[in-house]
Structures are given as C-alpha cells and as structure tokens.
Amino acid sequence: MKISTRGRYGLRLLVDIAEHSNEGPIALTVVAKRQDLSEKYLQQVALLLTRGGFLTSVKGSGGGYLLERSPASMMIYDVLDLLEGNICFEEPVQGEENAIERVIRLHVYQKLDQEVKKVFEGLTLADVTKAAWFTYVI
C-alpha cells in the first residue's frame, strides 16, 4: 500500500487549515505557498474534503476554506479513507482464490488492516496539530 499524493497533500491541507483556524477562511493560494504545493492540485483535494464533510468553503473576497467541524471530531483514519478510497491491504477476491492466497489474505492482510485501524483509532486532527501528539499515542 502506498499513500498517493492526494492522501498526503489532502492531510497537509487539513492540518494547515486547522493550525490557522483562528484566522478565518484560508485561501488555497496561501496554503499552496506555505506548504509549497500546487494550488491547482489543492483545489481538487479541497473539493473532495468538502464533499466528505471535513471542509466548508466560503465564497467571495476574503473567502477560502474552514474546517467543517471541530478538529477533535475528525478522525485521521476517516480522512485517509476518504482521500485514498480506502487504506486497506486486503484486496477483494478476483476470480478463483486458491488455499494459499486465502490463508495470506486472512492471516496477513486482513489482520494487518485490523492492526492499522487499531493504531489509528482515536487519533484526531486535533492530536496531529499538537506538536507532541506522538508521545501521547505511544
């Protein structure tokens, strides 16, 4: 499993907006400059995050994006799940599955997905924007 640019940039966009949430709506031009990312690409990702209920857009001059709700209520796992389609190692069975494939799917990939879910459980956008969240997670 590789996390695509959509997943990586989308999360950076969200973290950037969360960190500047006291400044009102944030224009993507500003984020693009601050994060050194393409504004055009950020527009696509912002649209996806808006549809997914993580961002809300404010039109007009002085417009931009705001978090749709509190960062403490936004699960990182859900954000990645939306941006990436899913973040699973297990893939749907296509055609005939032999015994070895089945054992690997159930005992490696399926369990690994459960493990990833468990590790990410409860990790919110608010945790990530705090500088020392990593020590808290461990």
Binding site: K2, I3, R102, L106, H107, L112, E115, V119, L123, F134
Partner: protein
C-alpha cells in the same frame, strides 16, 4: 525467486530432483516483503527537507512501523500451518 535467494530466504538445488527449499525456519513476512519489494515506505518522504516541520510525517512513520512490526511477527511456518489446518478441514 532470485531476490528471495539473494536475501538468504530460500535455497536452490540443481538437478532432476532439484527445486527450492526454505533456507531457515522462522522466516517472517517482513523479511519476504522486504526482499521482494524493498523496505515498506507508505510515502516517498525519504529525501524531503520538510520532514522535521511536517506534522503529517509522524502519521506516516506510525503507519510504517505498524506494518513492519506486524509483518515481523507473522512467520511463513505459521501461515503454512494454517494451510494444513484448512486442508484437513479444520477451517482457516
């Protein structure tokens, strides 16, 4: 098979009765994956200069260590034993 042999995970035997066998017991999925696919890196951040300032980087580190830790605990022997169970009708 070549990367697996280079990594010392399988041994090849030549000849009519030749073939491959595991080079040792206790081989883990992490060893196999690392030999065949390289080290697991969910994001291409290795040479990024923003790593220290990047808060999302910690998420990727966490994902990476979860995958490496988990796959280091699952051995090929263990998977083979599940296979035997399933063939014996014991369910997978």
């Amino acid at each position: 098979m070549i990367p697996l042999r280079r990594a010392g995970l399988v041994q090849a035997e030549r000849g009519v009765q030749g073939g491959y066998r595991l080079a040792k017991s206790g081989i883990t999925c992490a060893e196999v994956l690392s030999a065949s696919e390289g080290d697991f890196e969910p994001v291409p951040c290795r040479n990024c200069t923003r790593t220290d300032a990047c808060k999302t980087h910690q998420i990727w580190t966490m994902l990476q260590s979860t995958v490496v830790d988990f796959t280091s605990q699952v051995t090929i022997d263990e998977l083979a034993s599940h296979l035997v169970e399933s063939e014996a009708g014991g369910g997978i």
